[in-house]
Every structure is written in C-alpha cells, then in structure tokens.
Amino acid sequence: MTNYVWLIPVLPLAGFLVNGLFGSRMSRKVVSWIANLTIFASFVFALVLYIHMLGTPALSEEGIHNILFPWLNVGAFHINFAFLFDRISGTMTLMVAGVGFLIHVYSVGYMAEEDGYFRYFAYLNLFMFAMLTLVLADNLLLMFVGWEGVGLCSYLLIGFYYTTKVASDAGKKAFLVNRIGDFGFLLGMFLLFYLFGTLQFPQMKEIILSHHILPELTTGLITIATLLMFVGAVGKSAQLPLYVWLPDAMAGPTPVSALIHAATMVTSGVYMIVRLNFLFQLAPNTLLIVAWVGGITALFAATIGTVQNDIKKVLAYSTVSQLGYMFLGLGVGAFVAGFFHIITHAFFKALLFLGSGSVIHAMHHAYHHAGIHDKDPQDIRNMGGLRKYMPVTYWTFLVATLAISGFPVFSGFFSKDEILWKAFASGHKTLWAIGAFAALLTSFYMFRLIYVAFLGNFRGGEKEEEGLHESPRSMTVPLTILGILAAVGGFIGFPRIFHLPNILEEVLEPMIPAVNPVHYLHNVSTEWTMMGISVAIAILGWLIARTFYAGESAKLVEGLSNTFSYIHKLLLNKYYVDEIYFALVVHPVKRIGEFLWYYIDVILIDGTVNLAGMLATCCGRVITLFQNGSVKMYAFSMLTGILILFWIFVG
C-alpha cells in the first residue's frame, strides 16, 4: 500500500485524460461519474494511508516515501518524480481531496446546463492532479511542477467562458501575475540548490538539523532565498502587491472559485512555507516581512470588502484578507496556527463560495423565469429575503459567516484567535492590532452580506420571485457537509487554555522542529482576556452591520457613503490599484515593445542593413535573373558555385 502514494495524484490525472480525450463523445452522466469517482478514490486512499501512517511509528516519523521514476539527472543534480506522504502533506492531502470531492459533487448540479461540461470536469480533475502533486512532492522542483500546474488550471478555469473578454482577460492576468511570483520561486530554488546541493525536503531538513550549514555564513543567503520563495508565495496566495489577479478570477464558474481561489490553490503559498518551516525559521528577517505583508494585506483587503456589491467580489477580497492572516501567523513563527487556518478557511470559505454559487444559480433561474437578461445575478442589491426560498443555503451560509467572523466554537474562531494570540504573545502588538481591526471589518462585511442578501424583503419583481427556489440536492448536500465541518472543524485545534487535546498540534508538531524558537508570552489570564476581546470584536462587527443594514436602516448607509464619498469611492474602486498598475507597468511595457520594434529594429538596424543592401542591389539584380524556377538552372548555378570554390581552394 505504501508504494502507491502516487495513485493519489495520478487517479484524477487518469480522469482528466479519459474525460479530456473522449469526453466530447460521452454522456454528461458518464463524464461526471468518472470525474467524481477518481477524486473520491484519491480521498479514500489518502484517508486509509493517513490512518496507517499515524498508526505505524516508523512511518509516522519519516513519512511514506515513494519514488516513481528519475526525472532529471545532470551531474550532481538528481530529481526524482517522488512523493512524500507525511504528517504535513498527509493532512493537507485530506483537506484538498476531501473539499475537492465535495466541490466536484456540487459542480454536477451547478454546471448541469452549461456548455463545455466535459471540458469543465477534465480541467477540474487536472487541477486536482496538479494540486496533489504540489502537496505531495518530496522536492521543491516537483512542487514547482504542481505549482505551475495549478496556475495553468486556474488560467483555464477562470477563462472557462472564453468567448467573453472579461473571462479571458482575467485568466491571462492570473497566469501572468502568478508567473511574476514563479520567477521568485525559480531563483529561490536555484539559490537553495546552491546552498544545500539538493532540493529534497527531508535532506534539506537533515542538513539544517545536523548543522552542516554554518548559520553565520549563510544566514544572509538564506534570508535572500526565503525572500525569493516568499515572492512565489505572494503571487500564488494573492498578497500585496500581487493580489490583483484574485478578485478578477471571480469571472470563472463559482465552484472553481470555491475550490481553487478559496480552499486549495491560493493556500499553497502558505503550505510551501509550512513545508519549508525549518528554513524560514533560520531567516527571522524574512519572517518579519512575511508577518507584515500578511497583516497589511489582511487589513487592506478587508477594507475593500466592506463596500463591494458583487457577492463574489466580497468573498474574493475576504479570501485575500484571510490569506493575510495565515501569513501573519507564519510570520510570528506560529506555523501550526497558520496551517490550522488553511484547514478551517478551506471549510468555511469553500462553503461561502458554494453558498454564493447557490444564490447566483437561483437568481439566474429567477431572471430566466421572468425573461430578464440585463440584471446582474451577482449583485446583492438585487437580492434580499432569500432566506425564505433557500433555507439550506441560508443556514449553511450563516454558519460559515459565524465561523469566519470568529464566533466562539465555530471553526474560524479557534484558528484566527490562535494567530492573533500568537502575534500578541510574540510581542508584535501592532500586528495584533491590525489583525484585530481587520477581524472587526470581516465580521462587518460578512453580516452585511447576510442582511442584504438573505434577510429583509426580496428587491425584485413578483415574476422573478416566483422563479426563486432552493438548489438541487447535489448542491445542498455538499453545502450541508461543509456546514458541519465549518461549525465543528475547529475542534481539531483547541487552545491550550481549554485543557482539551489539540489534535492538529500533536500531528504537526514533530514536523516543525524548533530550529530557531520564538518566545511566546505564557500568561493564562492574558490569553483569556485576548480571547474575550476577539469575541467582542466579532459581536461588534455584527452589531454595526445590523445597525446599517437590518430592516429599513439601509438609508443610513446611503447617507454615510455620501458624507464620506471620497473614501467610499476609493474603496469601491479598490484604491485604484489596477489602474495604477496599468499606468505604471502594463502600458509602459507595451510602449517599450513598440519603441524597440519600430525604432531599433525597423529604423536603426534594418535601415543600416538596407543601406548596405542598396550597394548590393546590382548583385541582387543579377541573382534575380537566375531565379526563373527551372531546376536545371538552379542545379547549374550550384554546380558553378561549387566549382568556383574548388578553384579558389584547390587551385
């Protein structure tokens, strides 16, 4: 069994190949069965393997190592197609395959009436292959294969509705911005290979633990290497300043947003740093930057999230913000807490996206029913009172909202609080304050969605209202399962002051050796106080949203946004970051290209050449005479040429 770790990524790959090659000739039913079964099999196998691994002492320490075939062998550089199923990658695999499977099931209902059904499922399976390769890789280069692979699938799926410019622009933007990050990843990889002579995680860790690398000689280089790797993470996990692709990525089908742009792919930057924790611990300066980038991103994105009217855009900025929390956690040395937030965020954010998908699906049907084509089914201003028509969607969405806002016992409460506490306890009080304020905004913008979209009265016509209905079972069942997970998922990581077992920490702690330990404040009463503040913040956020958006108080918002119209406009336009990038990067690069082509290539170089060519025109004329298409003539001229050469040489 332990020799078949590779099956976990390869099964969905097989699904991709079958669906991709023959899907156009198969029925939708067969296509969805193939896609769903392959990822389900991966999940079940991973689960069995996980239990087996934790139960076997030898395996639980080292992990299951599985070499498939040698990939690249040049000189001292040996890279295998090899997978490592250990405590970190195993846990991540369960989340990725589990949530991935639920979203596959959901997609069956969501995509039922779309064109390109087989294409969709083929891409989805290909994504699972790439993501699982990224997670299970035993070396950085194979991780990079998955890393670029998920980027490709993201590109393909964002641009799924490719005949619209919005979607294909968004796909391209995602790919290109990610490539900027990958550029850092590549250089980081080179530097690490230069330092360690290997790219395999266990070996690198071994070298560090046995002090084969003198820290005083290499700290500088390790700082550079980790910073370069972090550039990769910033691209993939949508942090400042490379987050701009993620909000646009919402042009893809909603389940894709849930899977790729909330639960799995965007967390791979965080995952990569957790995987390389032994390395990042050696670079305190890098960690400080990670923490600050994360913290500022968390706040920055949350402010934008408060005013957006597109339900998916709110969630997109929320994702950017939550990813910021994860980096904040990593940056203060709380690797387990960061990882914990990956897991809980996967549950509640996937749920939120799937819930929004369910809403959009319903609105779409309602408009279709009423024969309306020009209304945006994603605009929350067109919704209202959906609770009545879609109870399952509403309740699960509410659970996820409570989780992300950090209401006690819901999953997000544990993970977010852990991060904030660790930030505070490690002495980063400013970062804690930033995180806490972002938490307030989080709670606010989430409850704003609840009030505007689900409560109150429906803001459409009667005809539309008739068309509203709950989504099919293939969609509501995954919602329910994720709802349960979002509610209780936090129980895997109780804080110490609860005196309950912290399962996640027990599992991961052995994989995170204290190479360069961070000193945390240990004070039970302070920790309780801080937790109390977190809860108060969550409730405050809800109360503010309630004041502004519950019932008829919507007018208050209008007044407020008129008073602070500049700020409102700034936020609504996302601080004009896209416009700034266009003016400072996109446009100049294009102009430079045009300049080089026209002035350097055409005028300067070619001009010189043509001038020289004019002198040779007479020769050209002579040549043209011979160019009459007759083979005999050509053969003759060739022969003559060769003879002349002979004459020159041989004499």
Binding site: F69, W71, L72, N73, V74, G75, F77, L141, F144, V145, E148, G149, L152, Y162, T163, T164, K165, S168, D169, G171, K172, F175, L176, R179, I180, D182, F183, L186, L187, F190, L191, F193, Y194, V589, K590, I592, G593, E594, L596, W597, I600, D601, I605, D606, V609, A612, G613, A616, G620, I623, Q627, G629, V631, Y634, M638, G641, I642, F649, V650, G651
Partner: protein, 513 residues
C-alpha cells in the same frame, strides 16, 4: 556497408530522393508528394539506427568515417564525418522533421511542386552534412550548399515580399560565412590542416584567437541569430512558406548555436574567456528584446519568429555559462525549440491556408469553431513558454540553474535577468493566444473554419509526443549527450574554475590551452 557507412548513408540518402524526383514528371503532383513523404519516412527510420547503435558511455565520436578525398600541392582534404553527443540529437531532429514538413507541404505549396521538393531534399543534405562534418573544409562546403536551396525556397515560394526577404537572408548569411571562410583558410595556413581535431590540438596565440573567434562568431551569430544580427529572421520567416519556416526555425538556426559549441568555442578557448560575458549579455538582451518586440507584433508568424530570437537567447546564455547544467540545457533547448517553434509555424500555416491572413486582429473566438486545433495550439504554446512537464521547461530550467551556478562574477544577475524571459514569454504567447482563440464570439468569416484535418493531426502528433517525452523523461536525451558535453566543456575550459582574466593581458600572453 550499413555498419561502416551508416552515417554517410543517412547524410546522402536524400540525394537519392532528388534523383527519383527528377525522373518523376512534374505533372504527377500526387505521386511526387507521396514519394517525398514516404522517402523521408524511410530516411528517418534508417537514421533511428544511429540512436539505437549510439554508445552513450563514451564521449568519443562514433560512426566515424575518414577518407582522404583529394590532395594537391596546396591542400589535403579528408572526407571526415562523425557523430557524438553534440550533434546526435540535431541530426535526429532534422530527419524527424522532414516527413512532418512534407506532409504539411500537401496543401501549403501551390506551385512548382517538383522543384520545391528537390530543393527541400537538397537542403536536408546540406544541413546533415554540416552537422556531421569534422573537417572545416567539408563543413564550409555543406554550409554553403545549405544556403542556396533555402534562398530559393524563400525567394520562389514565399509571400509578397519574398525577393526582399530572400536577398536579405542571402546577404546576411553570406557576409558571415565569408568571414568564416577567411578564418578557415587562415587556420589552414597556420597549421596545414583542415581537420577539426588537429585544430583543437593546436594552440593559437591570444591575438589570433580573438580575431578568429570573432570571424566564426559573427558567422554563427547571424545564423542563430543573436541581437543585433537578427533582423533578417522575421522577414525570412514571414515570407517563407510554412515548410521553409519550419526547417529554418527547426534546424537551420541551430546550426549557428551548434557552430559555437563545435567550432568557435573549443577552437579558441582563451577568446571564449574574454568574450563570454559579452555574449551572455547579448543573449540576455536577445531574450528580453525578442520577447518585447514579439509582444507588439500584429502578425502571428512574425510573433513566433521574434519568439525565436528570445528562445535562442537562452541557448546562447546556456552555452557560454559553461557549466554542465547550462550546456546540457542549451543543447536540449535547441531540440525543444525545433519542436515547439516548428509546431507553432505549422499551426500558423494551418489557419493561413484557411483564411489567407495571419493578422491577429482578423481572428478571435477560434476555440469555438476549431476546438481540436485550439487544444493543439495551446499545448505547443505552453511548451514554448516552458510549463513544467513539457519539453521547454527542462531546457530553460537547466540553462537558468547552470547560469546561476556558473563562476562568473555576476552569475546571479545573469540568471535573474534571463529569467525575466520566463515572465515575458508568457506575456506575448498568452496574449496572442487570447486574441486568436478567446475574447469574442467568432466572427462571420471565422465561423465556417474547418477544424484540424486528419492529415494535420497526424503530422502534429509526433511533435506532441516529443513535447511530453522530453518533458517527462529528459534523461533519455540527456544521457546520450552527457559524456560529450562534459568533454567539450573541458576542451573549452581546461581548468574547472573559470577566471575571467584582464582582456588585454590575455591577448598579449596567448593563454595556453
């Protein structure tokens, strides 16, 4: 015969095709084309024997044939050919591409089929001959032979501005090769030999090396082409018929890079030490410049042509970084470029035949009307931008990593700037892809376009296989050039630590090999 003269047979077999084609009457177009495809296929199968019998455990030249050809008072010339890890895969690429090209010719060439096919086979002999020659005289002979059929292919079967492009191509290449000829004669006068291995053993003085290297380097730089000698390329590519572009991009350009590793670099090692940083910088300029200019092209074919400038910049950087990784990567990248760019030219040819335009703005939404074609185009696009698990990634990665690890003072910055091409490559390719295949519902004119036909799929399939074969299992290819590359690095760089000396001092001393 097959044992002792296999390499000669592979090299000259296309001449047999020329003879047969000459006999078949020009009116029987179908027979001519079928014969060309069939013959080139047989030729490829025969050449496979070279791979089968190739011994990857030695660096030495194999299938070696050395026959005194003629000797006069002034000169003795041997017919000396051989195969090692340096030229094996380029030879194979040539024979591999031939049947694919002839299959594509079925519809792309519309006049004078017979002479077109004859020219193509003659070109093949020229290419193969230059690749296997181990004698500078023979090499030069084949090098010139190659020029003529290519000139006609562009000049007779090309587009509207074909004469301009053909003459430009001719003059550029001729200017370079004349310099090379002078260098070859000079070397002969100094050593009394045209034999490459004798010349390797001879140590030219520092000053001689600088001039001789420059003469060879300019000839090869034009062929590669290295910035700023590249402006013949976009014109030649745009005007050449599809088959011409494929062979030009696929193999002909590689003769430039091959010339560096086989001739210019091992012959003049101390000149390499002086020039290497400059060549690397020119390579990096090529990568970035080619990409930026490719980005703003309005014609798909011209875009692909400029992308070649960018890709071959990588190869040059890899070769002159002179580490095992980077040179292996560069050697592999030569093959990769032949496959990916060759395929892209074929693909561009396919829509050109249907719509008779290559303007990007004429297209849009093609993914809807030509789904299979769109998928194929996507895969080769990804291979061109070096996505992992495709061939392009392996080459680029090895080049960049090797450059990073090289002993130059600015190695990190070389690698970093070269890696900018990774981003820019994605920019121009994906933007082009988006405008051709996505963005809008297909317009009236594009609505009736037929998807890739069976014949088109057949000739693209082998290229597709190669994309993933090299991407997934590059060891098969790397293993067979490993030993020779190692040997050549030693030839070029006798000491393991590369020290860049003061240029003027090196010229004066005449550094020992």
């Amino acid at each position: 015969m097959l044992n002792t003269h296999l390499l000669s047979i592979v090299t000259f077999l296309p001449l047999l095709a020329v003879v047969v084609l000459a006999i078949i009457p020009g009116r029987q177009e179908k027979t001519l084309k079928q014969f060309a495809v069939g013959f080139s296929l047989v030729h490829f199968l025969v050449s496979l024997l070279l791979v089968v019998r190739f011994d990857s455990t030695v660096y030495k030249v194999q299938f070696e044939e050395i026959i005194p050809w003629f000797s006069t008072r002034f000169a003795a010339v041997n017919y000396h050919i051989g195969l090692d890890g340096i030229n094996l895969w380029i030879v194979m690429l040539t024979t591999f591409l031939a049947p694919i090209i002839f299959l594509s010719v079925y519809s792309s060439v519309t006049k004078k089929h017979k002479s077109f096919l004859i020219n193509m086979f003659l070109l093949e002999v020229g290419i193969l001959g230059s690749l296997v020659s181990l004698n500078t005289f023979i090499f030069y002979l084949f090098w010139e032979v190659m020029l003529i059929p290519m000139y006609f292919i562009i000049g007779v079967w090309g587009g509207e501005r074909r004469i301009y492009a053909a003459v430009k191509f001719f003059i550029y290449t001729m200017a370079g090769s004349l310099l090379m000829l002078v260098a070859i004669i000079y070397m002969y006068l100094q050593t009394g030999s045209f034999e490459l291995f004798d010349l390797y053993a001879h140590t030219f003085s520092g000053r001689e090396q600088v001039y001789l290297f420059a003469a060879f380097a300019i000839a090869f730089a034009i062929k590669v082409p290295i910035f700023p000698f590249h402006t013949w390329l976009p014109d030649a590519h745009t005007e050449a018929p599809t088959a011409g572009s494929v062979i030009l991009a696929g193999v002909l350009l590689k003769l430039g890079t091959y010339g560096f590793i086989r001739f210019a670099m091992p012959l003049f090692p101390s000149a390499v030490k002086i020039f290497a940083p400059y060549v690397i910088v020119l390579g990096i300029i090529g990568i970035i410049y080619g990409a930026l200019v490719a980005m703003v092209q309005k014609d798909v074919k011209k875009l692909v042509a400029y992308s070649s400038v960018s890709h071959l910049g990588y190869v040059m950087v890899g070769l002159f970084a002179l580490t095992l990784y980077s040179v292996q990567g560069a050697m592999l990248q030569m093959i990769n470029h032949g496959i990916s760019t060759g395929a892209l030219f074929l693909l561009v040819g396919i829509i050109y035949e249907r719509r008779h335009t290559r303007l990007i703005s004429e297209y849009g939404g093609l993914a809807k009307v030509m789904p299979v074609y769109a998928v194929l185009f996507m895969i080769f696009t990804l291979s061109s931008i070096g996505l992992p698990l495709t061939n392009g990634f392996v080459g680029e990665f090895l080049i960049l990593m090797g450059t990073f690890k090289s002993a130059y003072p600015y190695a990190f910055w070389y690698a970093a700037f070269a890696a900018v091409g990774v981003i820019l490559g994605a920019v121009y390719m994906l933007w082009m892809y988006q405008r051709v295949f996505f963005n809008v519902e297909p317009s009236e004119k594009n609505l009736k376009l037929k998807d890739a036909s069976l014949r088109e799929r057949i000739y693209l399939l082998p290229l597709l296989v190669m994309v993933f074969w090299i991407g997934l299992y590059p060891s098969f290819f790397l293993k067979r050039m490993d030993k020779s590359v190692e040997h050549y690095i030693k030839l070029i760089q006798p000491t393991t630590q590369l020290v860049v000396p003061d240029p003027t001092a090196a010229v004066d001393e005449g550094v020992q090999k």
